[in-house]
């Protein structure tokens, strides 16, 4: 009963307070924090749901046995014996040619029954209505996706060349399960009947073929088969089930999720600052009222309940509004990033909304509680004597709960203790550094105090409220920095990287050259007067032992290491080291090598797989073992786009194994028609266009950057909220000061100019901090990830400072213009 009364009264008080505008800032801060967290939350929830519920559709089966060599017959025979449905699939990249056009495609070779789960959909015309495919392509025909269809300028019924075969295009593929992401996702797709593949002549040494055996059936039979098959897996083979479906999709999305979550948390931190500032102001404005209520007979308990209910209502309403915005905004993320997920995304669930509301309320209570507790402890004597001021607060210690909430959210969102600690530590360190820098600059500005009056007053204002000024500048700087990094610094880095590439660097790779094609290829170039590019031998092998100890992906935590141990990679041999390589440890064998069983390993991969100088590596090459000692580690400059290998042996070790060749060369744009002739002459070649691959990488980067930029919009909004909260917190003081100055004869213009000067200084300093932060971030990215010497970008500083000063001056002027309108006498009477 008493509680109900408290809630009812709290609701009425809330409505009255809100009308007076004092709580709007707290509400806005919560809305922004919750909206930014739930935008990411709803989106990732959709992706997770897609991965959970549609796992078997993503897989096209209930279980898939995968290998990079043909799978033993017994896998298929056992599935039949257990009455399971079976479909075989091969998958490899190949050139597809029509007339003068050729495209590198992802070819899927399927048997009847494909797909066992989910559906493939086809259409008879481009962008026309599609229907479920009832069978696989008939012998002699293929299905191609929209991109291959448009890339080759095809019409239904046209013939295309795949290897040595000519096949007829029967339909356009609009949807299929088990489509890939990443590099292959960007390759157009073609589906062909298993019966046609032998005639293409594409199954040969060095072909990058993945063999997939799809299995489907009753759950317990599939489980039984899984147990049976697990015991028979050879190196290079693995099982994908619906529980571990699409690890590459999951890994990519986990990384995207971490990144987006951390971006969202920056807004949460700023919102917390705004809430703390606004709650303090709320306290100051309600001290009299609270003392009055105590006077009128309200107990301390009633006031506590009243304000707790008050804030709970406010927080809940604001959090619900935030969730609603988040639910709408997530569709923007789905638009930018949805293509990374190969299925249609389901509607988001309720959990992210719940998380959002809880996060909003925790934030509110973490940062509004200390002032609230002070409020209930107000002395009733204040009604008689104003000098009984603000009750002694809990100081910074009061915000322990708040800091714990923020720390907890970072750990929760980062999904990783190490990353969480790094982010939290980095964040605190960056804030302290920015705060210190701001403090130093503010101190330096005191030398400007004998400049014009407006400046003097503006700067004096900043210095008088040093802590408040630092908080505002750092908070705004963070928001501006996020934007600068994603706009100017990003394009800067890309430009710098592209410029670092030599203009005549190879722009085409040819893979899959057979030994008997090396001479004809050289002749092909020679006839056309083109310098013959160096051709490198390549042997595919799997690392099976280091120093006699078996290597398994389970030994490594690192994703890249797991992938490297699961797959075959390319070994080569050479007498001389490539010019873009540099020995960092050990010695190259040179011309007069003493032994042939040695390897030179690229530094980065050695670090990933924990390979040291002197280790003995054992590779499995086509079922035979080859062994060698690591005698040198090399640093490779990959940006030259020359052909390079992770592991190189001296001549004499690998020649007896199945080998194919690879080369790279620079093709001037005017010679583009050469490629068609080349592909027609050597249909098994894979031609890789570097510019196209880089274009694809850049497109994906752009998509991710746009998504992150969108999340950072919340950061900018949160930064502005901090500015307004800080303005509001000083409003009474500004009013008083303006009044005194006006009674002393200052006019409105003079006061407005002083305010403008103050906010322009805040904006310029925030822009400066932002430019410093963005440049620091850019140089770290350049040095650590792109291996570039980063040149500091002047325009970032200029734009940061000028845009910061103008933007914040405008916002600050807007926020304080009321102060100038109030009649001085009114203020004096209120204060008196």
């Amino acid at each position: 009963m008493r509680f109900a009364r408290g809630i009812g009264l709290a609701a009425r008080l809330l409505a009255r307070d809100y009308r007076a505008g004092e709580l709007a800032l707290i509400a806005i801060a919560i809305v922004i924090a919750v909206a930014s967290v739930t935008t990411v939350g709803f989106f990732t929830d959709r992706v997770h749901q897609a991965l959970e519920r549609q796992a078997n559709q993503l897989l096209g089966a209930d279980l898939v046995v995968v290998g990079d060599r043909p799978l033993a017959r017994e896998f298929e025979a056992e599935a039949f014996r257990r009455s399971l449905a079976v479909a075989r699939m091969l998958r490899f990249p190949s050139m597809v040619v029509r007339g003068e056009k050729n495209v590198l495609a992802d070819v899927k070779v399927v048997t009847p029954g494909y797909p066992l789960r989910g559906e493939a959909r086809i259409s008879a015309e481009l962008y026309g209505p599609d229907r479920r495919a009832e069978a696989i392509p008939a012998p002699g025909t293929v299905w191609v996706d929209e991109r291959l269809f448009t890339g080759l300028e095809l019409a239904i019924g046209d013939m295309v060349s795949v290897g040595a075969s000519r096949l007829r295009v029967a339909a356009i593929l609009t949807q299929e399960p088990d489509s890939a992401i990443g590099f292959l996702a960007s390759a157009p797709r073609l589906i062909v009947n298993d019966g046609d593949i032998a005639a293409t002549g594409l199954i040969q040494t060095g072909s990058r073929i993945r063999y997939r055996l799809q299995i489907a059936g009753a759950a317990e039979r599939v489980d039984g088969y899984r147990d049976w098959a697990l015991a028979r897996l050879q190196p290079g083979q693995r099982i994908e089930g619906i529980r571990d479906a699409r690890p590459e999709v999951r890994a990519a999305l986990d990384r995207a999720e971490q990144f987006l979550n951390l971006a969202a948390l920056v807004s949460v931190v700023l919102a917390a600052v705004a809430i703390a500032l606004a709650a303090r102001r709320f306290l100051q404005r309600h001290l009299d009222g609270c003392a009055m209520m105590r006077c009128l007979g309200a107990s301390q308990g009633l006031i506590t309940r009243l304000y707790a209910a008050h804030f709970l209502l406010l927080g809940t309403v604001a959090a619900v509004v935030g969730c609603t915005i988040g639910a709408a905004a997530q569709s923007v993320l789905a638009y930018w990033l949805g293509t990374l997920v190969p299925v249609r995304l389901p509607f988001p669930g309720w959990m992210p909304a719940l998380h959002g509301v809880v996060a909003g309320l925790l934030l509110l209570f973490g940062f509004a509680l200390p002032p609230l507790v002070s409020l209930t402890q107000v002395s009733t004597l204040r009604v008689l004597r104003r000098e009984f001021g603000v009750p002694k607060g809990m100081g910074l210690a009061g915000y322990v709960l708040g800091f714990a909430v923020i720390g907890g959210m970072i750990y929760w969102r980062a999904h990783d203790l190490r990353l969480g600690s790094m982010v939290f530590g980095g964040f605190v360190a960056a804030m302290l550094a920015a705060g210190l820098l701001t403090w130093l600059i503010l101190r330096g500005l005191s030398r400007m105090r004998h400049s014009g009056m407006s400046w003097r007053f503006g700067i004096a204002n900043l210095q008088r409220r040093t802590l408040g000024s630092i908080i505002q500048i750092v908070a705004l700087g963070l928001g501006i920095m996020a934007l600068l990094t994603l706009t100017l610094i990003r394009t800067d880095l890309l430009d710098a990287w592209q410029k670092s590439l030599l203009p005549d660097a190879p722009n085409r790779f040819i893979v899959n050259i057979q030994p008997d094609q090396v001479q004809p290829l050289n002749a092909f170039f020679g006839v056309r007067g083109i310098a013959q590019p160096p051709v490198f031998p390549m042997v595919r092998g799997r690392l099976i032992r280091i120093n006699g100890r078996g290597v398994s992906s389970a030994d490594y935590l690192d994703d890249r290491a797991k992938r490297l141990t699961d797959r075959e990679f390319n070994l080569s041999w050479a007498t001389r080291m490539q010019t873009d390589n540099r020995i960092v440890a050990g010695e190259w064998w040179g011309e007069k090598r003493t032994r042939r069983d040695q390897f030179s390993v690229e530094e980065g991969i050695a670090e990933t797989l924990v390979i040291r100088l002197g280790d003995v590596l054992t590779y499995d090459v086509a079922g035979r073992e080859v062994e060698g000692t690591v005698t040198s580690l090399r640093k490779v400059n990959w940006d030259t786009f020359n052909v390079n290998f992770f592991v190189v042996a001296p001549p004499g070790l690998l020649e007896t194994y199945p080998v194919s060749y690879i080369t790279s060369f620079h093709l001037p744009p005017r010679n583009a028609e050469l490629l068609n002739t080349l592909v027609k002459a050597f249909p098994n070649f894979l031609l890789i266009d570097v510019a196209q691959v880089m274009g694809q990488v850049q497109r994906i980067m752009d998509q991710v950057a746009r998504a992150v930029q969108f999340v950072f919009l919340f950061t900018v909004l949160a930064g502005l909220t901090v500015l307004y909260a800080a303005i509001a917190a000083t409003q009474d003081e500004r009013l008083y000061q303006a009044t005194i100055m006006r009674t002393l004869g200052a006019n409105r213009q003079q006061l407005a100019r002083a305010n403008l000067a103050e906010f322009a200084a805040i904006g310029a300093l925030a822009g400066l901090i932002a430019a410093a932060g963005a440049n620091a971030l850019g140089s770290v990215l350049a040095a650590r990830i792109l291996n570039l010497a980063y040149s500091f970008n002047l325009s970032v500083w200029v734009i940061g400072v000028i845009a910061g000063a103008l933007g914040i001056a405008a916002a600050g002027h807007f926020g304080t213009r009321q102060v100038l309108k109030v009649a001085p006498l009114k203020v004096l009477r209120q204060i008196g």
Binding site: R19, L384, Q830, G832
Partner: protein, 231 residues
């Protein structure tokens, strides 16, 4: 709860003292103050600035705690109660009018007057508050915020808020201190009219001679001691 035998006496103050420590020095603000106030009386407390008037009023209203002595209100030993107990007693029988009005700026005139009834959980708060504002002549100003009202109007809202709970006892601290003479006189007229109508006991702190003359009795304070019993 201890009940006093004499129901006629509404306030009984015995040997009330208040000392505060500032630095090393003990400062005596009130010393050995004793008096009684009967129900229905209007009593003025006067004295120069710093004589202890406001401290005495604060102690009588239970807003502060004394160093020594007792205060009984309607038979209740005020300082045998805890802070919440005193707040409950105030809510039940005490009204306040202050020099600085103390209206809540976020609330309209009507909402300010409703507040004490709402805090007490009383039914019909809106109607009672509206009637009270009509009584003080502000029926046209119900939905105005304090900052939209003149000083005199604000003090009339405060008076309406003080009387709306029909208190037995009304404390007023310099009620005309922030008003010009003419407005102050109107406010005083209103205060005494309402006092008569509702037979409230009135205790007020003032500098205003005109005001003291309308009271039944004047208590003079000097340096924290009561100078006379002007019965």
């Amino acid at each position: 709860m201890v009940l006093d035998a004499s129901a006629q006496t509404l306030i009984r103050v015995s040997a009330l003292g208040k000392q505060v420590t500032t630095g090393d020095a003990e400062l005596t603000i009130l010393s050995d103050v004793s008096f009684e106030v009967r129900a229905g009386e209007a009593v003025a407390i006067v004295g120069v600035s710093g004589s202890g008037k406001s401290t005495l009023l604060g102690l009588l209203a239970g807003l502060d705690t004394p160093t020594s002595g007792t205060v009984r209100i309607d038979g209740h030993d005020l300082y045998a109660l805890d802070e919440d107990g005193r707040a409950a007693l105030r809510g039940k029988m005490v009204g306040f009018v202050f020099q600085s009005f103390q209206l809540l700026p976020a609330m309209t005139a009507l909402e300010n007057v409703m507040l004490p009834l709402e805090l007490a959980g009383a039914a019909g708060a809106r109607e009672a508050a509206r009637a009270m504002l009509e009584r003080v002549g502000l029926s046209e100003r119900l939905n105005h915020y304090p900052k939209q009202l003149s000083g005199g109007e604000q003090q009339r809202v405060a008076i309406a808020r003080a009387f709306v709970t029909r208190p037995k006892l009304l404390f007023a601290d310099e009620p005309t201190g922030n008003l010009d003479a003419a407005t102050g006189a109107q406010v005083i007229d209103l205060l005494f009219e309402l006092n008569r109508e509702s037979r409230t006991t009135l205790l007020l702190v003032t500098h205003d001679e005109a005001l003291t003359q309308r009271c039944n009795r004047v208590l003079r304070l000097a340096a924290g001691r009561l100078q006379n019993h002007d019965l």
